[in-house]
């Protein structure tokens, strides 16, 4: 879950060589931070500052109702951003995600249009996501087999898929989503008791995986972290999860889309961290030639990554349509165009490839949505919103860049 990220100590901080005490682990983490290995620290500090600033300006900011709104508002950016993480890890870019999401949103709405030919919600979603997969595969083929830079391919995609959105909508102007299931994604809520059960089950599974991983390392005679750290992480997840569930239940409850996000987050984190494909994504982003010489099929990795990115964009488009209960000619434009690309960057994923995590999309989208939401509560114009979001993006990249320079200086790079 997105919340687990905050609970664990910065990954990638100094790796302890032998079995270490908690004090050693803490010291190692702090040395890592001082050497510029900041992990998620800046963004968590940033989120706290944002919360304090907006709460002091408008007492409606830190309310349970607004908290639930925030989750729903950030959901589409998070979903699309998770796909963008893959592309950024390769050191490539996908500018077309906004309008690809628009195409999928419009397709879903049209397929569910109550004109006598409506198909079920699930088939409609499958078709829209499959369209995303096809679009991404097409982009990937152009980039790898024809050799056009991804910037150009997806810039053309940005223009072209915007055209497709307009063509699909035609002279309808706005299409209302008429399917209860799809609308329910972002507008219906889990029963309070169910949320608690799901939370406990998740924490239980997390604890079991942590403990079994530790046991197998110990059996193999490898260095292990102190037991207390596992306890701290499990309790941290439980605490943060409990706060989220309690606050949300105080209002309407946990929206279904939150569950979708959690599943996507866990799935893609698993793919990146524990599968061969994930390893190859990092390798190609880090040193394409080394990967090629190690026998990695670089072209195939790239095509699959662009397919994942567009499919996630499609899913994000459906979530967005669900939240708005309709699609119009502006679908996929405006904020959706670039916020999902900004989100992983704000969250700490490098634009130069090889460094980043799925959680960066989640945290970055949370920052963007928090600012958007807060400025909305203050009644500021969208012009101000864009300027401030732009400044935050710049600040995030500056922090990243400075910490990297520090890492290079201290030999941690």
């Amino acid at each position: 879950m997105s919340t687990a990220a905050g609970a664990e100590p910065t990954p990638g901080a100094a790796v302890a060589h032998e079995r270490t005490s908690v004090a050693d682990a803490a010291r190692g983490w702090w040395q890592g931070v001082r050497a510029g290995d900041l992990g998620s620290l800046p963004i968590i500090v940033g989120l706290i500052i944002i919360a304090i600033v907006f709460q002091s300006q408008n007492s409606n900011y830190l309310t349970s109702g607004n908290f639930v709104n925030l989750i729903v508002q950030a959901a589409a950016y998070m979903t699309i951003g998770m796909g963008v993480v893959f592309v950024l890890l390769l050191g490539e870019i996908d500018l077309s995600v906004g309008f690809v999401s628009g195409v999928a949103g419009v397709m879903t709405a049209l397929l569910l249009l109550d004109d006598g030919n409506a198909i079920g919600a699930i088939p409609a979603i499958i078709i829209a996501v499959a369209a995303g997969l096809a679009i991404g595969t097409f982009h990937g083929l152009l980039i790898t087999k024809v050799g056009i830079p991804s910037f150009v391919v997806t810039l053309a995609g940005l223009l072209g898929w915007q055209g497709v959105v307009l063509l699909l909508i035609g002279d309808r102007g706005t299409v209302t989503l008429q399917d209860a299931t799809v609308v329910g994604f972002a507008n219906d809520f889990l029963p309070a008791a169910t949320s608690w059960i799901v939370l406990l089950a998740c924490v239980g599974v997390y604890a079991v995986t942590q403990i079994s991983a530790r046991m197998s390392r110990k059996k193999a005679g490898l260095p292990t972290e102190p037991d207390v750290l596992i306890l701290v992480r499990v309790l941290g997840l439980l605490l943060i999860g409990a706060i989220i569930v309690a606050v949300a239940n105080d209002d309407r409850g946990i929206p279904y889309v939150f569950v979708v996000l959690a599943v996507l987050y866990l799935f893609w984190t698993f793919v990146l961290a524990r599968t061969r494909f994930g390893r190859y994504v990092y390798a190609v982003g880090g040193n394409q030639e080394a990967a090629r010489r190690a026998g990695v099929n670089v072209d195939r990795v790239k095509i699959v990554v662009f397919a994942i990115c567009s499919a996630m964009a499609a899913l994000g488009g459906i979530i967005l349509a669900s939240r708005l209960r309709s699609v119009d000619t502006g679908a996929g434009g405006g904020q959706v165009l670039l916020y999902p690309i900004a989100a992983p960057v704000i969250g700490g994923t490098s634009l130069f490839g090889g460094r980043g995590h799925i959680k960066s999309a989640v945290l970055g989208a949370l920052v963007i949505a928090s600012i958007d939401n807060g400025l909305g509560l203050l009644g500021l114009s969208s012009g101000t919103k864009f300027v401030i979001t732009g400044l935050v993006l710049l600040l995030a990249v500056t922090v990243d860049s400075l910490s990297r320079r520090r890492q290079a200086a201290t030999g941690r790079a």
């Binding site: 390392r217 490898l222 524990r274 061969r276 880090g286 080394a290 026998g295 990695v296």
Partner: protein, 259 residues
Amino acid sequence: MTDSHPVLELRGISKRFGAVQALYQVDFRVAAGEVMALVGDNGAGKSTLIKCIAGIHPADEGEVLFEGSPVHIHGPKDAARLGIEVVYQDLALADNLDVVQNMFLGREELDSFHRLDEVDMERRASKTLSDLSVTTIRSVRQTVAGLSGGQRQSVAVAKAVMWNSKLVILDEPTAALGVAQTRQVLDLVKRLADQGLAVVIVTHNMHDVFEVANRITVLRLGQNVAEFETKDVTQAKVVEAITAGSLSKVPGQADEVVV
């Protein structure tokens, strides 16, 4: 040692890139337990030759024999399957991955659920490094970006020998290293040969050649010009062969002075 059965033998290898004849009728052999130095000036065809062996640029013509039987190498995976590993000068490692991830890149081990088996990979990587007496690496879970040049080269070599490889090719392994680190890598090269591997070392550095090699093959303008036993030859003689060795074919040119 040099009389033993060759692990790899190349006969009459030629390779063209458009109008450029990069290799012409090159013969080459290396036996188990020996260190063969492949030397030559810039553009002599050393890199092209090892790329042919590694399957990155398949040869246009010629025969490749591995342990006495003819083989065709069409890609890096073919070479790896035979037990040929190449350590490239600067392209071997991905900076953003840790030591274990680099050593297993392209050949990750999976557990029964098809997940990466990190525990087993970490164990094997640690063992390989300690077998090679590479003791300077603090943790196998640190990223390669934080390692020194000698440590990186050691990791690259360890990566190459972990796979029961029979032939290890090192491309300019000491080019970017300081004195102490060069020492570290050359010792490692000697240990590989002592363990019975065939080792090819491509280098410009005559000192390295005479330090570790048993035999020396000299290329010039894409052709064989000489093959020496290290113990029978002087540095001056090798340098002379590199700069002015006789060629069998010089398009549009008269033969040069025979050494």
